[in-house]
Symmetry: C2
Subunit: 317 residues, 2 copies
């Protein structure tokens, strides 16, 4: 069967490769594999284990399942050209992509990045051409708890869009398949706007959690000064989005603070990375927005200072 690569209904017949099989890549790939899609996993650390035992996904939402290890690979060359590459790698490892991706690409291969923050689509577009790039924002709570083992705790929604253009048939087909595999997936008109909106939360909460000594979100909203600082950082991100022509909804700051205050104590992902000695996504979450601020001449004093503090904390471990 020859897949329709331009006007697909779903991903039936598409060859799919997952690059970066941490909690995000393996989880979303395993969802498509469970649906019967032709998913090839490029794994490093977990290769031997998964080859033998498969991926074990334990979802607290809809049970446990195993994806056979037949289609796990150590080298992109062994997978060969695919129709869709899904990138679950951390943005801090982007430098490997110009070398890793080429064997996976044919002329019309789509590349979907599920990475955090700003700049990932731009990075991929520079090397591989903008027209094939898509992006997704993951709102998921999951962990890799051991070799080949993914614990899915809650949530899982993806906001999916195309890079620099409105969503077309490919974005909609991917969304349809994820929906069918029990991943809520929302196609967004503007990927950039969705990214700014997510940063409205990530910039203050991921950042202040690290800067204030490794604290959970309840302590941020529970401190008069830190809550005000978080709100101020949100305003700065909103003003950056606006300077690019993306107008986020009124009341967003209030809303985010209220929702966060209603949550249980939460350790933001960047804090977990920081405390585990894993590279923090400085560039994608703080440095790239700060660069936008400089380019557009938008004052962002809090973002500027927070970025400086985080750079130092990350550098000194």
């Amino acid at each position: 069967m020859t897949a329709d690569l331009d006007n697909p209904v779903n991903l039936k017949g598409w060859r799919i490769a997952i690059v970066g099989c941490g909690a995000v890549g393996a989880y979303y790939g395993a969802r498509l594999a469970r649906l019967g899609r032709d998913v090839h996993f490029l794994a490093r650390a977990d290769y031997w284990h998964v080859r033998e035992y498969g991926w074990v996904v334990n979802s607290h939402v809809d049970g446990q399942w195993i994806v056979d290890g037949d289609q796990v690979y150590r080298r992109a060359e062994d997978i060969g050209p695919v129709d869709l590459v899904i990138i679950g790698l951390k943005a801090t490892a982007n430098y490997v992509l110009p070398e890793v991706l080429p064997p996976l690409l044919h002329e019309r291969t789509r590349i979907l990045t599920l990475q955090n923050g700003l700049g990932n689509e731009e990075f991929l577009a520079t090397f591989f051409g903008a027209e094939r790039i898509l992006g997704g924002l993951c709102f998921v709570c999951n962990n890799r708890t051991g070799p080949g083992r993914i614990e899915h705790l809650a949530e899982g929604m993806i906001q999916l869009g195309e890079f620099g253009r409105p969503p077309g048939p490919v974005a909609r087909a991917i969304a349809r398949d994820w929906e069918e595999s029990r991943v809520p997936c929302k196609v967004v008109e503007s990927l950039r706007m969705a990214r700014w909106r997510k940063l409205v939360w990530n910039v203050p909460f991921n950042g202040l959690a690290i800067a204030a000594g490794g604290i959970t979100t309840d302590l941020i909203v529970g401190s008069a000064e830190l809550r005000e600082a978080a709100a101020g950082l949100m305003e700065e991100i909103i003003s950056l989005a606006a300077a690019e022509g993306h107008f986020l909804p009124e009341g967003l700051v209030e809303d985010q603070i209220t929702r966060t205050a209603a949550m249980a104590a939460y350790r933001p992902s960047s804090l977990i990375d920081f405390q585990n000695g894993v590279a923090v996504e400085l560039e994608a979450i703080w440095q790239a927005p700060l660069r936008v601020a400089r380019e557009l001449g938008v004052p962002t004093p809090r973002l500027q200072m927070l970025t400086g503090v985080l750079e130092q904390l990350v550098a000194s471990g």
Copy 2:
């Protein structure tokens, strides 16, 4: 001999008490004692040692000397009323003063605080009356290295003023005596302005050194982002001073950055306190200026965020 308490030439014949005999109080008191002035030291931790061995001051500038332990006391009642109280206590211990000072005071006793930051004169004025309050800013590099032992490494200048009024004969007499005891002492027209000026350095460098993970000044001026954050904090302090009618000199920010960059790696005093588990002067250095900002409606986003971060870091130790 009866001292002239209103138009003194110097402090000859004055009874003087030092409250708070850490590095600052003991050092400046020992300078006056060496000159032959009648100095009484209120000491806690060092009492027994100093009683026996005296204060040992080792100045890398002008040699070692010992101040006899005869005039060291454990209780203010044992000193009784004096003509001048000099406060060397850390501002974080101010709460003890309403109880400690009364036995030392007669109607015309002057109180000189050598403490850091904003609010100390105001605090004393509330309890003991504004007309008797003076303040001094110490630019000194010294340490208490053991019981009764003060190491004077460098500098030592005091900027001296009267609270809420121009300097008069008392301020000038105190300055004269310190000058004579080899403490450079400059009488300032506006104590408040001098305090703002010192905060221009202390707010960013003491604060960022702690917030960025315990770093020395060279790393602050050596990081593009932290240097810019420091400059931004300085601008905020300068704008607060201006809102109060104190116009700090043009070019101050540039000048402070350049001087700091020319210094060797330096661990600001608040960082030393923080790392030693000693109370950090949050109120005097950050919270009091932030309160001024709120009262006067001056935007200080960096000071606000830094204060929130420091509060949290200090609270969690």
